[in-house]
Symmetry: C2
Subunit: 402 residues, 2 copies
Amino acid sequence: MISKEMVTYVQSSSLIRAMFEEGKRLSSIYGPDKVYDFSLGNPNLEAPKEVKEAIIDILSNEADTLVHGYMNNSGYEDVRSTIAESLNKKHGTSFGEKNILMTVGAAGGLNVIFKTLLNPGDEVIVFAPYFGEYRSYTANYHGKLVVVSPNCADFQPNLKEFEDKITQNTKAVIINSPNNPTGVIYSEDTIIKLTEILRAKQQEYGTDIYLISDEPYRELAYDGADVPYLTKYYENTIVGYSYSKSLSLPGERIGYLVIPNEVDDFENVISAANVANRILGFVNAPSLFQRVIGKCIDVETNVEFYDKNRKLLYEGLTKIGYECIKPEGAFYLFVKSPIEDDVKFCNAAKKHNILIVPGTSFACPGYIRIAYCVAYKTIENAMGGFASLMAEAGEELVAASK
Amino acid sequence: MISKEMVTYVQSSSLIRAMFEEGKRLSSIYGPDKVYDFSLGNPNLEAPKEVKEAIIDILSNEADTLVHGYMNNSGYEDVRSTIAESLNKKHGTSFGEKNILMTVGAAGGLNVIFKTLLNPGDEVIVFAPYFGEYRSYTANYHGKLVVVSPNCADFQPNLKEFEDKITQNTKAVIINSPNNPTGVIYSEDTIIKLTEILRAKQQEYGTDIYLISDEPYRELAYDGADVPYLTKYYENTIVGYSYSKSLSLPGERIGYLVIPNEVDDFENVISAANVANRILGFVNAPSLFQRVIGKCIDVETNVEFYDKNRKLLYEGLTKIGYECIKPEGAFYLFVKSPIEDDVKFCNAAKKHNILIVPGTSFACPGYIRIAYCVAYKTIENAMGGFASLMAEAGEELVAASK
């Protein structure tokens, strides 16, 4: 028998992943060009050519036992130095090798930091809509997820409610900007206010509250939008990063944590995170891709690819009558469901071979998430289906009102 | 502040890893050829040339978005099929794709299966000496490690004590053969008796007891020794495998779990393990190396490399007067410490720039582990140091007896 906890998980397994599997099933029936899979943040964009070049260079010129061997559980020192220097150049920070811990993607990094910090019952605050896996990552260490309800006007976080929900037991706050699923970037004004609240609450309760910035979409910011680097606004900030989106490497599981010197209990956090990386079974981030990152540190993300998709999808859908705010970052459109029941709407979409995820999965019912990290023509070809869905929804609403 | 649990971990962090770091420090002072690092199972052997060829082939011929993209959390279906067929050919089993779950090394696999199975308080039995990380992996899910004391005569498991220690709460038993740290292969006779005990106890208590076979050293068997494939002896067997040793890829974190159809609650175990892989933050095993494994399935392990080291080290040390059983597998020699205090002996060895790990780390004090996955000349050059250590130990014993 599996554990009692896992029984619940198996029953309520990720809707996003279920959609991804459904997409593969439909593709095998109708052909991949007749299925419009907007379910998963799986970039339909090749990794930059520099990645392949780096792999070949490394395999040709570096010692095999180094490239595929064990290193410190925190990662290769030279790669961590390179990352620290790159962050310093971009953000005016002053990180060193010691502040960087290479992780098995951002998901691995978040598990490492929660294992490091959370005592059972500690509270972790998230802002709805939020990436559903945060709930599992917190539960893995018996933390308690505290959800701040969504602000559907502009999807900036609801700061009044946030302030009210901070307690003596608040250990961490997760921020995800550019945001999955809304595509919103938390403004500098938001960040300043949010960190002022945190500082005041730390003082009020005499506790330490860690701000965890989960930012795999950092580079995906459009129209020159600025994404504030949070360690500059709040001392107790830990950054989780992943190359899944910026370099199109989601399957490779490569990312890092930044743990600045200014973080409370720094030496212990660093040591414990290193141990956590090992005992959780990651041991270390995949070695070849650590070395690839060391060589690709200055490679730019192909923002233009996503920006074209963003414009096509946003303009196309709003023209048909869908309502949504224009995303400033990431590669998701968070659209008001034309009918109230977002799960029902996503099921209806399946009949048009369109795979999208209900806002319910992000604790924000009444919305749908459309991941536009797809081929341009997938968006073009899906527009007819989206139009039909809107027409059907209209008929249903008319019928219901009679 | 870090969590209370992690405070303990930071204080008692892995001695093995500490030795590895010490080795790097000493190398930077004395030069790598003057430091004899036998601490970590980090193969000083290049990966087979087929690995590099496979990577270049994959990068040249497979779609980039496939190679680096997300796939099912359990791994690529074609790779899992290839592994299943290879196991069937070798062991006469009848696995299919569904029975294979690709993992972030064996450490990732063990965490996935413990997350899947363990309720708090469930007991996990291990046989001393055992790989110390099993304690952390079990504790991660609030399982209770139950240790069967070592049988220092031949290091086959102590089956009488094993039988006595199985209770109503026993959920799993870990077997590691070829064994780290002893190099012993559990004989077929041992396996038959051990699984008979398990079957009888399952019946007696009306429970299910999973046998977890952690076997990263399966291919490292010398003199034609046979390593029984446990799923053929006991239905409730789950196998954890890693390519860290067989293909010299420890840094790449690539392995798999075998969950046979015959396992109790099979469908739920499979589903839960898939979910556990995701929510623990692994998400999936690194994608490029999954594909490499698909292409390198028939590549043979370079057993000869280790066998030469084994003979040199075993013959060299026994000639000087060290006592140990000749290892049949893996790449460790488990040697009786010339003085009773193994930790003290390992510290004395450091003065000769020899890095070895005390048996205490494996719940077997009075012994030392020497990992011989090193260059041949490292063993040759360290022999003088080992001889001096033996002489010093002799003097100490004489002095103590006066």
